[in-house]
């Protein structure tokens, strides 16, 4: 059973899921980051009425497990709009990543040294200029390392999409096991494929962390 030919077929089959895994990660990270910007801006507003919905969004989205979100979107909304597994997973993962990234961006904004805002104000910059020219660029720097390591967490979270039938790495591994492939080998290969992406990604995030430390003043 465990011949070399079998193992190489397993590699090939499971490897076909790699693209879907990467697509889910990249799309939900990028779209999530775009949505996270206005959410983080609202979250750091001084007006309660603006801040409260953003706080609620971040807390509720992060308070519900990824799997439950995916089940709600795929099965729950299935009665209203029927979605294919992949779009359902993309919606769910984007929602979740937008909440996590918004929280990172909020921390970035709030951790820019107060002296920076004061210096900008003392120069007579308008509040919009204070924010976009002085606070935001530094907030991005501060938010970058945690966001890069969130990308690793998100990559691993995409595996959950297999449960609603998205054909990613783990989906194919499961499928091959159901067809009689040895489970130990199949899931080792699946794990290996995730490591191929996650290890470089987490090294990159540590590298970013180091680079950024030289560039910003944090409170």
């Amino acid at each position: 059973m465990n011949t070399e030919a079998d193992i190489s077929t397993l590699f090939q089959v499971i490897g076909t899921g790699l693209v879907v895994t990467i697509v889910m990660t990249v799309v939900s990270f990028c779209v999530g980051a775009v949505i996270a910007v206005p959410v983080a801006l609202m979250r750091t507003s001084r007006t309660w009425l603006v801040r409260a919905p953003a706080t609620a969004f971040i807390d509720v989205v992060r308070g519900i497990p990824t799997l439950v979100w995916l089940l709600i979107i795929f099965y729950g909304l299935g009665n209203i709009v029927s979605l294919d597994p992949l779009p359902a997973a993309l919606i769910g993962l984007t929602l979740i990543s937008s909440a996590y990234l918004a929280e990172n961006f909020r921390a970035g904004i709030e951790n820019v040294h107060t002296g920076q805002k004061e210096a900008a104000a003392a120069l007579g910059l308008s509040s919009a200029h204070q924010f976009w020219r002085v606070i935001a660029p530094q907030a991005v720097n501060i938010a970058m390392p945690p966001s890069a390591s969130y990308a690793v967490a998100l990559l691993k979270d995409t595996a959950i999409a297999a449960i609603i039938g998205v054909t990613d790495i783990i989906f194919f591994a499961q499928q091959e096991v159901a067809r009689g492939a040895p489970a130990v080998t199949a899931f080792l290969i699946a794990g290996g494929f995730y490591l191929i992406v996650s290890v470089p990604l987490s090294y990159f995030s540590r590298f970013v962390d180091h680079k950024i430390r030289e560039k910003v003043v944090v409170v």
């Binding site: 004061e118 210096a119 007579g124």
Partner: protein, 255 residues
């Protein structure tokens, strides 16, 4: 030199500040004449920084009012309009104890940014002026560098150039040398002395008594939120009226 006949540039009228029930400024009034250099001294916690920050509304006073050139700065000092705030801050420059240069911008961008965003000068003119200011403070060689690549003394001189770039009528300094080693601090003090000699109106919170004595036209000693002693450096330092002043000066000299 006396300024009794000079134009009054800034008038602070009974400035009060209360932080959550804690009264830090007890109604401070003072006139600043054009070209005058005022040294603000006093023990730690006296309210020197708070008073200075009230003058450009980084801290909003809970009472009192400001006038520039005889005109009230705010229609309602307790409800400053945005435009009034911006105009006050563009007329008053500030230098911080911790420099607060923008770390994501190069040295020259630190100096040109506000000029351009505030519509003061075109990009080319702003750059020319920035280089001129950097030369004036002796850091022209660092124009392209990042602030983090400059020494503390250089950073503070760059911060002075940045504040000057707005063509302020009045410069505020909050302990500009206390984060610096003494030798490096002297470079900064030299720049400030040059400014004073060129006729810049300045209010300087400082613990450098020699600087206050040599450069200031007037010394104000702040204690527990009010002005305890005020006069020429010679009078305040040699013949203080209050026992408390002598004790403070003695303590500073003993350090």
């Amino acid at each position: 030199m006396t300024f009794d006949n000079a134009r009054i540039l800034l008038q602070a009228d009974s400035i009060e500040k209360t932080f959550r029930g804690n009264r830090v400024l007890d109604g401070i009034s003072m006139d600043v004449h054009a070209g005058e250099v005022i040294a603000l001294i006093g023990p730690s916690g006296a309210g020197k920084s708070t008073f200075l920050r009230c003058l450009n509304y980084l801290e909003q006073p809970t009472g009192g009012s400001l006038s520039l050139d005889g005109e009230p700065v705010f229609a309602d000092p307790l409800k400053p309009a945005k435009s009034e705030l911006l105009s006050l801050r563009r007329r008053v420059g500030m230098v911080f104890q911790t420099f607060n240069l923008f770390p994501h911008l190069s040295v020259i961008e630190n100096i040109t940014m506000a000029q351009r965003l505030n519509g003061l000068r075109s990009r080319a003119d702003a750059e020319d002026y920035a280089l001129q200011l950097l030369t004036q403070v002796g850091v022209q060689q660092k124009a392209k560098a990042r602030p983090s690549e400059c020494s503390g003394g250089q950073q503070q001189r760059i911060a002075i150039a940045r504040a000057l770039s707005q063509d302020p009528e009045l410069m505020l300094f909050d302990e500009p040398t206390s984060a610096l080693d003494p030798e490096v601090g002297n470079d900064v003090l030299k720049v400030m002395r040059d400014l004073a000699e060129a006729g810049t109106t300045m209010i300087v919170v400082t613990h450098e008594m020699r600087f206050a004595e040599r450069v200031a036209d007037r010394v104000l000693l702040l204690d527990e939120g009010h002005i305890l002693e005020e006069g020429s450096p010679a009078r305040v330092f040699r013949h203080p009226e209050h026992e408390r002043t002598s004790r403070f000066l003695q303590a500073v000299l003993d350090r």
